[in-house]
C-alpha cells in the first residue's frame, strides 16, 4: 500500500473518531442544557410559591413573619455555598430584606435576558439564574438567585469535561483542516487555475487560427465574428485575398469544447495553404475528409463550406460539405449538399460554380444561428433568417453585428446552446 494512501486512511480514521467524539460531547452538553432548563422551571415555581406565601403574610398582617423568611433563607452573602437564595427588593431595586443587604442594590452581571423572565448572569463570579417575581398590589419584588453549579450538581463537572473534550476535538479538526484539507483545496484551486490558463492559451491559439484581419477595399468587404459557447469552440471561419482571388471558408466541428477545438485547429490550418497551392474547393474537401477519417480520435465530423471568388469576373466556385445554407443577398445560395467531412473515406466531393451579381452580399453562418432557441424553446430558424436578410445592413461589420444582435434578441434570457459564427462577404 502506498505511503500517501496509508496516511490518508489514518487521517480519515482520526477525523472520524474526532467527529464521533465531538458529536457525542455535543449530545451530552445538550442533554445537560435540557436538565438545567427543567431545574430552572422548578425554581420559577418555587419562587412563585415563596411570593404567594409572602403576600399572604402581608394580607394576614404578619409582615414581620414574611420578612423573617428572607432573613432565614437568604444566604446571598455566603455565595458559593448555596443552591438558592432569596431577597426582597423595593420598586427602586434596593434590597429590603435580608437586613444585612438592606438599602443596597442587588448587583449581578447579565449574560442573557430570556423571554420567560429568567436572567442568566454572574453573581460574585458564580454563574447564576436570576428570577424576579413582583408581589402584586405591593411595592415589593421577590428575587431568587439560583447557582447553576448547585442546580446541576455533579453533572455540572461532567458537562465541563464534555465541553473541554469538545473544544479539544474542534481544535484537532481545525489542525487536520490546516495540515490536510486546506492544502488539498489549494491544490484543487491550483489545478483549476492551470486548466483555465491552458484553456485561455487554447482560445488564443484558436483565435489565431481563424482570420483576424479581413479584406476591405474597392472590390470586396469582408468580416466575421465568433461567439463560442465555452472558452473554446468548434466553429471555423476564414477569408483571405491574394491578388484578384478571394478564398473563404466557414465550418462547424460537431461537438464542443476542447476536443472540437483540436479538430477545428487541424482543419482550419490546412485550408488556406492548400488554396494557395492551387487546389480546388472540392479537392480540399476530399483531402480533409480522408484526413479526418484517418485521424478521428473523438468520432467527430465537420461541416464545411469553402470556395474561391474571382474578384474580376465575380465567378464563385464552392463546395458545401454538409454545411448550413448560406445567403446570397436576400435568398439562399444555390447549393448541392455533399456529405459531412469525417464520415467515410474516399467520398468524392463535388463543387458548384456561379457568377455573383454586382453588389452581391454573401452571409455564411453556423447552425448556432438557425438553431438558437428562445425561452419558449422555439428555434430562430431559416424563415427568421430570410426575413432579416430582406433588410439592408450596410458594411460587412454592420451585417455581422446586425445578425448576431437579431439572434441574441430572439434568444432573450435563454442560454446559448451552440457556438455561433457569422461571416459576411460583400462583392462590389
Amino acid at each position: 500500500m502506498k505511503k500517501t494512501l496509508r496516511i490518508g486512511i489514518l487521517i480519515a480514521f482520526a477525523v472520524l473518531v474526532a467527529l464521533t467524539l465531538g458529536a457525542s460531547c455535543l449530545a451530552h452538553i445538550f442533554s445537560y442544557k435540557a436538565l438545567l432548563e427543567e431545574e430552572l422551571q422548578n425554581c420559577k415555581k418555587d419562587l412563585e410559591a415563596v411570593t404567594v406565601n409572602f403576600k399572604k403574610s402581608l394580607e394576614d398582617g404578619q409582615e414581620a413573619d414574611g420578612l423573617a423568611f428572607f432573613e432565614e433563607s437568604s444566604q446571598v452573602e455566603d455565595v458559593g455555598r448555596w443552591d438558592c437564595s432569596y431577597a426582597l427588593c423595593d420598586t427602586t431595586g434596593m434590597v429590603v430584606a435580608p437586613a444585612s443587604l438592606a438599602g443596597r442594590p442587588l448587583r449581578y452581571s447579565v449574560f442573557q435576558e430570556r423571554k420567560d423572565g429568567i436572567t442568566l448572569g454572574t453573581y460574585a463570579k458564580h454563574k447564576v439564574a436570576v428570577i424576579r417575581c413582583p408581589v402584586e398590589g405591593t411595592p415589593y419584588t421577590v428575587v431568587g438567585l439560583y447557582d447553576k453549579e448547585y442546580l446541576l450538581g455533579d453533572n455540572h463537572y461532567t458537562e465541563g469535561s464534555y465541553r473541554i473534550i469538545l473544544l479539544f476535538m474542534v481544535a484537532l479538526l481545525l489542525l487536520f483542516a490546516w495540515i490536510w484539507v486546506i492544502p488539498a483545496i489549494e491544490k484543487i484551486i491550483e489545478r483549476r487555475e492551470r486548466a483555465e490558463q491552458s484553456l485561455s492559451v487554447a482560445r488564443s491559439v484558436q483565435q489565431k487560427a481563424v482570420t483576424q484581419s479581413f479584406p476591405s477595399n474597392d472590390k470586396v468587404d469582408a468580416h466575421a465574428i465568433l461567439t463560442p459557447m465555452y472558452e473554446v469552440g468548434g466553429d471555423i471561419y476564414g477569408c483571405q485575398q491574394i491578388g484578384n482571388k478571394l478564398y473563404f471558408v466557414i465550418g462547424d466541428v460537431s461537438g464542443k469544447g476542447i476536443g472540437a477545438s483540436f479538430m477545428m485547429f487541424m482543419v482550419s490550418s490546412l485550408i488556406f495553404p492548400n488554396f494557395k497551392r492551387g487546389y480546388s474547393p472540392s479537392q480540399i474537401a476530399s483531402y480533409l475528409n480522408d484526413l479526418i477519417c484517418e485521424n478521428n480520435v473523438y468520432d467527430m465530423f465537420c461541416t464545411l463550406l469553402l470556395g474561391t471568388i474571382d474578384l474580376d469576373t465575380r465567378e464563385m466556385e464552392y463546395c458545401n460539405a454538409g454545411h448550413t445554407r448560406s445567403l446570397l443577398n436576400n435568398d439562399f445560395l444555390p447549393q448541392e449538399s455533399n456529405f459531412v467531412l469525417g464520415g467515410f473515406p474516399g467520398f468524392a466531393y463535388k463543387q458548384q460554380k456561379i457568377t455573383l451579381p454586382h453588389g452581391a452580399r454573401l452571409v455564411f453562418y453556423t447552425d448556432g444561428v438557425t438553431e438558437a432557441r428562445n425561452e419558449a424553446r422555439e428555434f430562430f430558424g431559416e424563415e427568421a433568417l430570410l426575413e432579416w436578410a430582406k433588410r439592408p445592413h450596410g458594411s460587412a461589420v454592420q451585417t455581422c453585428d446586425s445578425l448576431l444582435s437579431e439572434v441574441l434578441a430572439f434568444r432573450g434570457k435563454a442560454p446559448q446552446n451552440d457556438d455561433i459564427a457569422i461571416m459576411t462577404i460583400n462583392i462590389f
Partner: protein, 99 residues
C-alpha cells in the same frame, strides 16, 4: 427521448421519439451501443417521432453506420419529419443512407 429496439423481418428496427439534442443524444448513443458491436446488421431507424436533431444526434447515427457498414451491414432511415429531413438533406445524410 425514448428508443425502442425491435427485431422485425430480419431487420433491427429502432424507433426514436423525442428531441435528439446535445444531451438526449448521449442516451441515444448508449441505447445504440449494443448494436454497434454486432456485425452485418440491417438497422432501420424510424424517425417519425423526432422533430429535432442536433449535430450530436447525427454524430451518433454516423458512428452507428461506421460500425455496421464495414462488416456488410446496412443503415436505412425512414419516416423523417420535415425539420429533420431538412437537416438530413443539408448534411448529406439523405444521400448517404437510404432514406
Amino acid at each position: 427521448m425514448t428508443v425502442d429496439i425491435k427485431e422485425l423481418d430480419g431487420k433491427t428496427v429502432v424507433a426514436i421519439t423525442g428531441e435528439l439534442d446535445t444531451f438526449t443524444s448521449e442516451e441515444f448513443q448508449k441505447a445504440l451501443a449494443p448494436l454497434m458491436e454486432k456485425e452485418g446488421l440491417h438497422v432501420e431507424l424510424d424517425m417519425a417521432g423526432v422533430d429535432y436533431i442536433a449535430s450530436k444526434g447525427l454524430r451518433v447515427i454516423l458512428a452507428l453506420a461506421q460500425s455496421i457498414m464495414p462488416s456488410g451491414g446496412k443503415l436505412t432511415v425512414i419516416n423523417l419529419t420535415p425539420a429533420v429531413r431538412m437537416v438530413f438533406d443539408m448534411s448529406g445524410f439523405s444521400s448517404m443512407f437510404a432514406v
